[in-house]
Symmetry: C2
Subunit: 334 residues, 2 copies
């Protein structure tokens, strides 16, 4: 076995995250006790929401502290099992964190198929895809023919949301941060229209892209895009509050959106937050349905891969800067 | 018949409303055509939401213009009927506006019982009471044992909401703008606790009054009270967006509340607006249930009455300044 590399939080970021907020150290490879498994990380996924965790108490994820290994979800192989339920050699998904080797109670990881592919397992069929699935269908409840708008549309959750909305017969408008992303959404993923939120004339472009107003707005960003959407909701529209990426990478969050609560009253709009963990007992059914859509060519997974554990901090920075598309994956080992 | 007095909008207010924004003029008494009724106004009700209408397009009520008779809901007697459905002498409720005599299509007014009392008909069993009933029960869905917080708690809607929440077995906290109102809410109406939003230490007092956090926040105000409530919602709490009285009497509305959408996500909170007109087909059932509560001594109606049509502008100003309790009624004639 090699050394156990760990990426630790060197300092909690005060402003925009930098790769230098992390450092790599080595540590002994831990030993599993009875009922535990030793996991070797094959790949990690990074989500923008993890930036909120670095702000401390504002996040549901709890507050990491300097000196700790950065947390995160990994795809791993069990190198040594002391648990009957998960044999050595099994592939699992779990809260590995940003490191090579970690020990977990067998109940804390989920075994996946022996031929499971890391990126799809962590992305489309992982937390990102499930978040899009349940947020759109259970909270947003789109009806065929309605306009569905999604922000951070080229992101890990957004690109799934838009495709599922298309499957459900909706007109889909994506908001993204570059013309390249917008072109990918309409060209590859079948979105009906896109708006670049960096367009100086964003408000008018957004209005032009939503001539029938908005039935469901799936909000991954908060901030100015949310505010624009509030002014375009139709009567009894629904706003799915999924994430606040516009506010994560700062220590001085902006004010709340104008139009709350006045426009919610005038247009009878429902705005609702959710956390994917609440849907755990339905993950299996959702994965089955999404796999069917993949097999039918209706649902595509986009992934941006980084190679090597030491690239994880830079991957995180690029994710927050809008430099990635789809699910962000860091390959740790083969 | 006397002259027909009309209160017209002299000028759309730029800042806080003043009685001088209105003027009284006289006009001919109109004549009903076939299918119409001539109504003599007995009483008017004024709601804070009408101030929003004077801001123009921001309101669901449409934009009044200078020179027009001020709109509003009245309790009236039919002095001359040209419609078979409503005989002369009937009592009706309808969109009379601020005047003595008005003509309406018979279908535009609602006949009430011959012994109906104006204040109860316009308040508890009128739009105010129905708004509290459906907003709390249909949108808020309170569970026995939960904490229900209502802002503008001594107002026309708020004092009904709190009492219905008590009937449903909830712990009820009212937010109001004076110590006298707070004392009335706990002393007369059975609220469990109150907080004066003008208290310099409001945030801490609010926190102390909600030790188990908030299951349902019924928001009549928006602004700082909404923001405080957002930070006190419990998991899966509901915010009923009913009105935005803190923002009505100004031409420069404040920013949206911090915590939207971040806190909605973290605590899986639902925030939903509604308009009472959408529940019209259930008004009868609601009035019956509320009348039962009144008869059982569980639901009391608070009213502030002003005497004389010419007092309507001043009544409106006092309502907006927090100088009234319960439903604001202007007696126009006997």
């Amino acid at each position: 076995m090699a050394d156990n590399r760990e990426v630790v939080i060197a300092s909690l970021p005060k402003g925009p995250l930098a790769a230098s907020d992390f450092e790599v150290r080595t540590a002994p490879i831990p030993t599993p006790a009875d009922g535990q498994v030793l996991c070797r990380t094959i790949a990690l996924t990074i989500g923008a929401g993890q930036r909120a965790g670095l702000q401390g108490s504002a996040s549901y994820a709890g507050a990491p502290v300097a000196g700790r290994v950065m947390g995160g979800t990994g795809f791993a192989v069990v190198e040594d099992s002391k648990a009957d339920s998960i044999p050595t050699g099994s592939l699992v998904v779990g809260p590995t964190g940003w490191l090579d080797y970690s020990v977990h109670d067998a109940t804390a990881v989920t075994r996946v198929a022996d031929d499971a592919e890391p990126a799809t397992t962590l992305g489309l069929l992982g937390t990102n895809g499930l978040t899009g699935y349940f947020g759109l269908l259970d909270i947003g409840r789109p009806q065929a023919g309605e306009t569905v708008v999604v922000s951070a549309a080229a992101g890990s959750v957004g690109h799934i949301v838009g495709q599922i909305a298309k499957i459900k017969g909706c007109r889909v408008v994506g908001v993204a941060g570059s013309d390249e992303k917008c072109a990918m959404l309409t060209g590859e993923l079948g979105f009906d229209a896109t708006v670049n939120h960096r367009d100086p004339d964003f408000r008018n472009a957004f209005k032009a892209a939503t001539p029938d107003r908005i039935g469901v707005y799936f909000d991954n960003t908060g901030g100015p895009v949310l505010e624009s959407a509030l002014f375009r909701m139709r009567t009894r529209g629904r706003i799915v509050c999924c994430g606040v990426v516009s506010q994560y990478d700062t220590s001085t969050p902006g004010p709340g959106p104008r139009g709350v609560p006045g426009l919610l009253v005038n247009n009878r709009v429902r705005m609702e937050g959710f956390l994917i963990f609440d849907y755990a007992d339905r993950f299996g059914q959702a994965r089955k349905e999404m796999s069917g859509w993949v097999d039918a060519g209706q649902l595509k997974s986009k992934v941006t891969e980084f190679d090597g554990l030491e690239q994880a901090p830079q991957a995180f920075v690029e994710l927050l800067n809008g430099g990635t598309v789809g699910t962000t994956i860091v390959r740790v080992s083969s």
